[in-house]
């Protein structure tokens, strides 16, 4: 055997060593796999530590190792670490193989003997496989400095501004007619009670005016092709029926439009808007949108009031959907969340009992720019409530709906209590499971509310009803809750109930994830590359996530994530080019029979057929390395780097201990 292989078995503290006899495995590898080229096998407490890496580097230099197998955690965690260690010692990084004996052995098995045997099998597979590894060089492609930001909420705005300020171009795509997101709907922000619009709208204006930002609202991404550094994105621009070149945003069309409809997006169903509308006064861009479904002209063929009064002739009823293609190098997804629909919990009476409000409805009620001018009133629009109950965890921390904590609702509910106190002097009852106030200044805010005289009742609300049992309950909403601190059922008669509804992933989160090639958790939140160490990147290179799309979070955290994603993008742009895993297929023209079976298999159109030579050829820039053509070629003319037939067949040999059996008549398997 010409190769000199080093095997390194990691203890990972007790994570691996607690179940697998790591010393025994290393001894076994040194002895039994010696004829296969293993010259050294060591175990170490933490292979990924700098001392562990130095151990490998030293052996490469002193023993002249030509191959390295590390048995530790998943390659998705530390493959890069060990490849770099090899590179530092002058060994081609692709001659290093990381096999997982933590995620695949010690963490999932309980029988120590069987786990140790499996660890041996996995190492044996890795050793056989690495004999067939070839030195590879990563492919380098230039990075397009333009970036796509999807979603114009606070996270997306922050990301776009940071990148644009750094000098790179940003395409911002927003589904709604205006950017701003949920934050534009809120009244005050906790715990500082800043006016939400006052701190948000300057950022919106900056994005709207920035020379480096192309703002595309009322638009959606419909196609994503390519890879990190070179994505081709298709954006559907929905028709506004307003020529934005001519429109000045004067608002006369909105004023003259005779058709009023309930605004269930921005005003959360509490207010009305016109069929021709600008969603809110500070909207960016200022262009109105015509709601075709509700427009009298589109329904009946007459009206055209907007066209008649438009001073610049900007109304265009003939506008069609447009598909725009842009090239970008990287993508930030900041598509946010949606509110849990409390209709799904009929026991709380939302939709049936008029004075049960959602948290978003209350934000609009309390907002000075909202439908009531900031007056907190009942659904009749006049009466001020004298008592208010706030129900926490509606749709969160509930196995029937969402098991997770929505993270922001406690603070939001405390904020509501404060606003009710301040504006109405009503009694406020907070019905909570646990109060969670973990961030800066949050618990101080909770203490403040305790001092303001809010009643805190620890218990999950069972029911909200309008059926009275006593004269005091007459005409009231009755909140039925067990106060678990005194162990008593309570019936609290109130005028208004606010449901602190859960944050949920957007309805189409899964389809959007598929479009961008990233994955969702079972809940539907997008999965980050690493939950602790890389919460911004995704498993798809060049696609980042920011804000509530990754999981429920408050404004400061969303802003921090937006900025962090921008920093990652800018960091890549500075590198000017990106290294791509050299996992590619190639065709040996001498073996190719020109049957063209592979041609139709490739979803990336990477395989070209040369009519003149009657052979197929793979374009390495388009090939993504899936290997389907390799498996399909009847002539065996296609080989895939990193995952060649020889490598995989050898790994099977190793996993089944055939390598050891051939040399040793005693079966090496445990059973």
């Amino acid at each position: 055997m010409v190769e000199k292989i080093g095997v390194y078995v990691c203890h990972c503290g007790t994570n691996i060593a607690g179940i697998v006899d790591v010393e025994g495995v290393a001894r076994w590898a040194a002895e039994k796999l010696k004829p296969r080229g293993v010259v050294v096998a060591r175990d170490y407490k933490f292979m990924c530590s700098s001392l562990g890496q130095e151990l490998i580097e030293k052996d490469i230099k002193e023993l002249g190792l030509t191959r390295v197998v590390v048995a530790a955690c998943s390659p998705h965690l530390h493959e890069k670490t060990f490849r770099n260690a090899c590179k530092n010692a002058g060994l081609n990084p692709y001659l290093c193989e990381l096999v997982s004996i933590r995620e695949q052995v010690s963490w999932v098995h309980t029988d120590k003997t069987a786990a140790t045997e499996k660890a041996k099998a996995i190492i044996s597979g890795g050793v056989e496989r690495i004999i067939w590894h070839e030195p590879l060089e990563p492919l380098r492609v230039p990075i397009n400095p333009a970036t796509l930001v999807v979603g114009g909420g606070i996270a997306g705005l922050q990301a776009a501004l940071e990148i644009a300020d750094a000098g790179s171009h940003v395409y911002m795509v927003e589904r709604q007619p205006s950017i701003g997101g949920h934050m534009a709907q809120f009244d005050k922000t906790f715990p500082t009670l800043d006016c939400s619009a006052c701190i948000l709208t300057p950022k919106m204006v900056d994005v709207g005016n920035h020379p480096n930002i192309t703002l595309m609202t009322w638009a959606e991404v419909t196609g994503v092709d390519g890879y990190v550094g070179n994505f081709q994105v298709t954006i559907k621009q929905k028709p506004r029926y307003v020529n934005t070149e001519l429109c000045t945003g004067c608002g006369i069309c909105q004023e003259k439009c005779p058709k009023k409809v309930i605004d269930d997006v921005f005003e959360a169903g509490l207010g009305k808007r016109k069929a021709m509308y600008i969603p809110f006064p500070q909207a960016v861009p200022k262009f109105p949108v015509l709601d075709k479904e509700n427009c009298t002209y589109f329904i009946k063929g007459t009206c055209k009031a907007c066209e008649k009064f438009c001073p610049t002739g900007a109304i265009d009823y003939t506008q069609q959907e447009e598909f725009i293609k842009v090239d970008v190098g990287q993508i930030i997804l900041a598509t946010g969340y949606q509110l849990f629909d409390p209709h799904r919990m009929p026991q709380y009476g939302y939709g049936r009992l008029p004075n049960v409000f959602t948290s978003l409805e209350f934000e609009r009620l309390s907002n000075a720019a909202g439908p009531t001018g900031g007056k907190i009133v009942l659904r009749d629009g006049v009466t001020e409530p004298r008592s208010v109950a706030i129900v926490h965890c509606v749709g969160s921390r509930d196995k029937n709906y969402n098991a997770y904590c929505s993270s922001i609702c406690c603070m939001q509910s405390l904020k509501f209590a404060h606003l009710v106190h301040e504006k109405t002097g009503a009694e406020v009852y907070e019905c909570y499971i646990d109060i969670r106030t973990p961030a800066k200044g949050y618990d101080e805010f909770y203490q403040r509310l305790l001092e303001e005289g809010t009643h805190f009742i620890r218990g999950k609300v069972a029911e909200v009803t309008n059926a009275p049992r006593t004269p005091e309950e007459e005409g009231k909403l009755i909140v039925q809750v067990e106060d678990t601190l005194i162990g008593k059922q309570q019936r609290i008669p109130v005028d208004t109930v606010i449901l602190s509804a859960a944050l949920e992933p957007r309805q189409d989160a899964k389809e959007v994830a598929r479009l961008f090639g990233i994955s969702c958790s079972a809940d539907g939140w997008y999965i980050e590359r690493h939950p602790k160490l890389d919460p911004i990147a995704t498993m798809t290179d060049g696609v980042y996530i920011a804000g509530a799309v990754q999981g429920p979070k408050d404004i400061p955290t969303s802003v921090a994530q937006g900025a962090a994603a921008a920093a990652r993008v800018e960091g890549k742009i500075q590198q000017k080019e990106v290294a791509i895993e050299p996992i590619r297929a190639s065709i040996n023209p001498d073996q190719c029979s020109g049957c063209r079976i592979c041609n139709d298999l490739c979803p990336f159109n990477a395989i070209l057929f040369h009519e003149d030579k009657m052979v197929s050829e793979i374009n390495p820039a388009l090939c993504q390395g899936c290997g389907t053509c390799v498996a399909a070629c009847p002539a065996g003319a296609i080989s895939g780097t990193g995952f060649s037939n020889e490598q995989i067949l050898a790994q099977i040999d190793g996993l089944l201990f055939l390598n050891v059996k051939k040399l040793d008549t005693v079966p090496a398997e445990g059973d």
Partner: protein, 164 residues
């Protein structure tokens, strides 16, 4: 001839599992991170895509002593490479037919779709498959892992039959 010498111990099947880099391998990672438990009988191989699965790999595993083979990939429509798991599906169906014709119990091979978030499903299905193969008993294919040899055996038998 069975190699089981210790009759008191239950038969422990050896299973080779093929995973794709993007979904099912990550499901296995997730099972690990969440400390879910499954039988140590399965040994995994990482491919970039289930579409990379050459049927030879499966035959090789059986020939080399595996009692069962599990092929896993992304859910239909979720493939990192657009649609290559559909090609894996087609190959799986053909391969299973071939194996049955060769005298294999169809229960020795299994196809599973598992997304990166479905660690629990991965664990459940692996455990089910282990029990399924355990019930079928050892395969004991008497070859040394050489796929050509597998096909050579019936040929020799035919010659023997013809000459006797």
């Amino acid at each position: 001839m069975s190699e089981q010498t210790d009759t008191n111990r239950p038969f422990e099947p050896v299973i080779i599992g093929f995973t794709c880099n993007w979904c099912s391998y990550r499901a296995a990672d997730m099972a690990g991170t969440a400390r879910m438990k499954y039988g140590p009988n399965i040994r995994l191989i990482r491919l970039m895509c289930s579409g990379r699965l050459d049927p030879t790999f499966v035959l090789k595993a059986f020939a080399g002593g595996a009692d069962g083979v599990m092929i896993t990939g992304c859910h239909p429509g979720d493939c990192h490479y657009v649609e290559q798991n559909y090609k894996a599906l087609r190959r799986y169906i053909l391969l299973r037919k071939t194996l049955v014709q060769m005298g294999f119990e169809p229960g020795r091979i299994k196809l599973l779709w598992a997304s990166a978030a479905e660690g629990a499903i991965f664990v459940e299905e692996v455990n089910k498959f282990i029990e399924q193969v355990r019930a079928l008993g050892p395969l004991n294919w008497p070859t040394s892992g050489n796929v050509e040899e597998m096909f050579a055996i019936p040929e020799q038998m035919m010659i023997q039959e013809a000459t006797s």
